[in-house]
Symmetry: C2
Subunit: 327 residues, 2 copies
């Protein structure tokens, strides 16, 4: 890249979708009309060599995934994603064409939700590429789909099968994204490379106006269920035979399936709890929208934590998601 000012012009959108945007890229900060709706904001970072490598994701997919991870956090609050800001730290080894692809990957996903790119920062680094994305969203006043909302007797649900992303990652680490994949393998690989956040499910849950505890599955189901259990001071039991599995993942040994489903992460499905009385209505609304909410467990009083019921045995399920600083 020769000139950051010229570069910023190439990534600045020519028009915007959201009528509430007063000023996007091109001033000191973005300016947005006030709204009676509650605001949601999150900031997530992807580092080359940690969250992805150039052999697991194409630049387009890096962009898609960085934005998807943030939209997923908005979905987990029941919100509508509206705006995003991108900070990119660029090493000399990345070429301008590849950087453009990162922004195209974000723009393509943003298009799905009529989101506008409204700001950020472009800087150089001697280290790996670092991509930080901030997403702003909105949700109807007073909706609080927090982890701390779970109560005893709640059902535990998930908004789709999990584990495919981890399965895809293991294939990519073996063969890289330029490798040859069977149809089944390609499905897993795609789940890792181009995950779709579950905004639709989050919106139905928010609009139900019921008490809902909700988390997106970024660090693995075991980790996310533990976060709900801890925040709500409840015990959660997951039923092993109820965990939804994609057809693709069922081609693999069951030990591998378990590892991917429970500890894999980056699935961006939603896991939550709500009262068994309120659940059927929400489940039906989701079904109508083509989203399958599956009951996978139950909340009980007890020591905060997660148990996995395998029918013949019950085991404690510790967090064991990806910890950035463990050995």
């Amino acid at each position: 890249m020769k000139d950051e000012f010229e570069w910023i012009k190439t990534i600045s959108p020519a028009s915007h979708k959201q009528s509430s945007l007063i000023q996007g890229i091109g001033d000191d900060a973005a300016l947005i009309k006030g709204s009676a709706l509650d605001q949601i904001v999150c900031l997530d970072t992807m580092v080359e060599g940690v969250h992805f490598t150039q052999s697991t994701l194409t630049p387009f997919q890096v962009g898609h995934k960085a934005l998807a991870a943030n939209i997923s956090d908005i979905a987990a609050m029941g919100g509508i994603p509206l705006f995003y800001l991108v900070s990119i730290s660029i090493p000399p080894s990345w070429e301008e064409g590849e950087l453009s692809q990162i922004y195209k990957g974000m723009a393509a996903l943003a298009e799905e939700y009529d989101m506008d790119l409204i700001g950020g920062d472009t800087v150089s680094t001697k280290g790996p590429l670092v991509l930080s994305v901030t997403v702003l969203g909105q949700v109807e006043q007073g909706r609080k789909l927090l982890r701390s909302n779970a109560e005893p007797d709640d059902v535990v649900f998930v908004s789709g099968p999990v584990g495919d992303s981890a399965g895809g990652l293991s294939l990519l680490l073996e063969r890289s994204h330029q490798g040859e994949f069977s149809t089944v393998e390609a499905l897993l690989v795609k789940e890792h490379q181009l995950p779709l956040p579950h905004v639709g499910a989050g919106r139905i849950l928010a609009k139900s106006n019921r008490r809902v505890a909700l988390n997106d599955i970024s660090d693995g189901m075991a980790s996310e269920a533990n976060e709900i259990a801890e925040a709500s001071s409840v015990s959660i039991t997951l039923f092993h035979d109820k965990l939804p599995k994609s057809a693709a993942i069922q081609h693999y040994p069951s030990k591998m399936q378990d590892e991917w489903m429970l500890f894999g992460g980056e699935d961006y499905k939603l896991i939550g709890t709500m009262s068994p009385d309120a659940f059927p209505e929400v489940q039906a609304a989701c079904e109508k929208a083509g989203i399958c909410l599956t009951v996978i467990g139950r909340v009980t009083k007890g020591t905060p934590g997660v148990l996995l019921d395998r029918g013949t045995s019950i085991e404690k399920l510790s967090k064991a998601g990806y910890n950035h600083f463990s050995d």
Copy 2:
């Protein structure tokens, strides 16, 4: 660092200042009550080895400065800074005590404005430390202190002396922050290490409800004035003998002063333009608040650009601020 989850607990504030905050750190995203005021948002990044080194800034100062740069962007929109999110990419060489100091540097500055830390991300990297900060703020409805607001006949003003930060940087590059500094030198060094954004001046300008073009001086006065000239399609003339100088900077040769003032950057003062009729009232209000607005130039019709009038000669002042990708 051993465990990111434990670490996040240590940096999570025990209470918050802003009553509009519904949920801060501890869920998928932060949740904030809606407001009729317009929202402002920005995202800025500091990279070790590019924006600072461990010999120019202490970890506390790194934190202070990363937040200050973002608050300054809110100030340049006339806004009130309210919330911040922090994404940090941590190399193995940084120790937990140093990382805590980064957060303490941010918290100390946030305290000045009753700002709350409401989210972010903590990840590992094999490269240099990268710190991305998002700040959210508010401004009264319809106030647009944009770069594109300048009109011919406007006065050009600045909210304080500039160049000290660049002077301080040159001393730090020579001797590091552990070096010995005279009283004068220490003043310059402090301006580089612990700059204070000009929120007060921005607020007075916003509340005046006048047409104001405004920029914060992060990349040097020449660069910022050029941004206003380009965005507004006007010519700006700066009068060399009107540029305010600190007493400290006047100890140095005038060539050096010019270099630091015009191309130094990281001063976080505000530069702007407004009608000469409206200016005295705003200037008086600033003076009452202990802020000195100085007229340094004039806007005219003409080719977009900036001229420096030295009395005996006039020269074109190109951007020449720090470009991340020039050689």
